[in-house]
Symmetry: C2
Subunit: 222 residues, 2 copies
Amino acid sequence: MKSKADTPIKITLVDDHRIITRGLRSYLESFDDLSIVGIAANAEELFTKLDEWLPAVVVMDLLMPGGMDGVTATRRVRERWPTTQVVALTASTDEARLIGVLRAGAIGYVRKDSDPELLLATVRAAARGQSMIDPAVAHTVLQELTRGIVPGNELTDREREVLRQLAHGHTNKEIAEALFISEETVKSHIGNILSKLHLAHRTQAALYALKQGLISLDELKL
Amino acid sequence: MKSKADTPIKITLVDDHRIITRGLRSYLESFDDLSIVGIAANAEELFTKLDEWLPAVVVMDLLMPGGMDGVTATRRVRERWPTTQVVALTASTDEARLIGVLRAGAIGYVRKDSDPELLLATVRAAARGQSMIDPAVAHTVLQELTRGIVPGNELTDREREVLRQLAHGHTNKEIAEALFISEETVKSHIGNILSKLHLAHRTQAALYALKQGLISLDELKL
DNA sequence: CAACGTCTCCCTCTTTTGGGGGAGTCTAAA
DNA sequence: TTTAGACTCCCCCAAAAGAGGGAGACGTTG
């Protein structure tokens, strides 16, 4: 199809959905200037193979059930393989991680429901060290930049921990037991969480946590 | 690659993620016996095009934010185009819909994290009218068959409506006002929901609703 | 050192939630 | 017609959650 003169861009795909990565591989490989040098189903697999593959661009799905999440994986990649760029590929539902993954060092961001051409453009830009953010979400980035604050990030570590517990559907008593603190303390934390996030009650907090990607639907045992 | 004598199997892909369908198209079309005759991003688009495309097999993602869900769409397809078979393609996270979609008339079921070869085999089997269920979940089907009950499906319409409201983070009072019923009635419904689903409290119910796809993260205004 | 934030715990009080009943209406099925 | 289920509302009661204080211990930072 399309062709560029020099050597093709080496790409690695990361997604636990093998059928999806297989499809993407076929698509991307139909272009002369793109070459898939490896596919990993999770972060651990990626790290063990990266020295061997040495891709110019890693296309990473942010939602990976079990094990390390995509944002953390992105950070690790950027730390250890600074010459490898990361493009985040996400479902429309977890836009919450947009800011997080960019902070973690991703150079590109593409929603799965975007035009396939956008993925091509983003990968090619990434290989040249240029950043491309999906137009559908670019406004969010600007919002965050102007505000300077990432909502939900004003929580302390402990509060985030409590919120995570809460979002698993646990009661105050259960949270207290899990964190080895009193129920009163849990109530204090939750009160602070609600007021900081301007939420009315725990159910909203749980939904918020989910929406923000603090926990994923997958780890929900219900 | 692989080839079969007669005319290729006509396939339609349904998924709101255009990048995913584009990839799958490339992959499936690399086989001589498979032919993609159309791609739809949602159920509505599928229905308007199906008379024109007339595929032998529809490969349907069950998770489609906004609009009709994949299970309902599957039922419609089977009702109106009985010669068209449906293969469900799902993320590992929503196995909950397995039974539902099979009842709705799907002949095949493949998880996205399965071996790509399995998708090929399932599509080819479907075209011959043969059913293939992902081995990773087949045991669930057997369980359900022996039990005869579909968990979570025993909710009434009204209860589902209340649950949807609840999952938006509304209080009993707010739900009552939204549905024009008394708060007492809302409490009755929620009590029934909790006992039917074996859940402990509303927060779990909200999370459950999300996990089941009764509402999507997108429609959450938090 | 003083100030600050965090984490912890305690108190009181009100509101919300959920469990246990019951009971009337309506519709659809047997 | 009888039965069954769904939907509605009501009562009482107990548990859980949330708002509003306060306060001590600890570490960091100015």
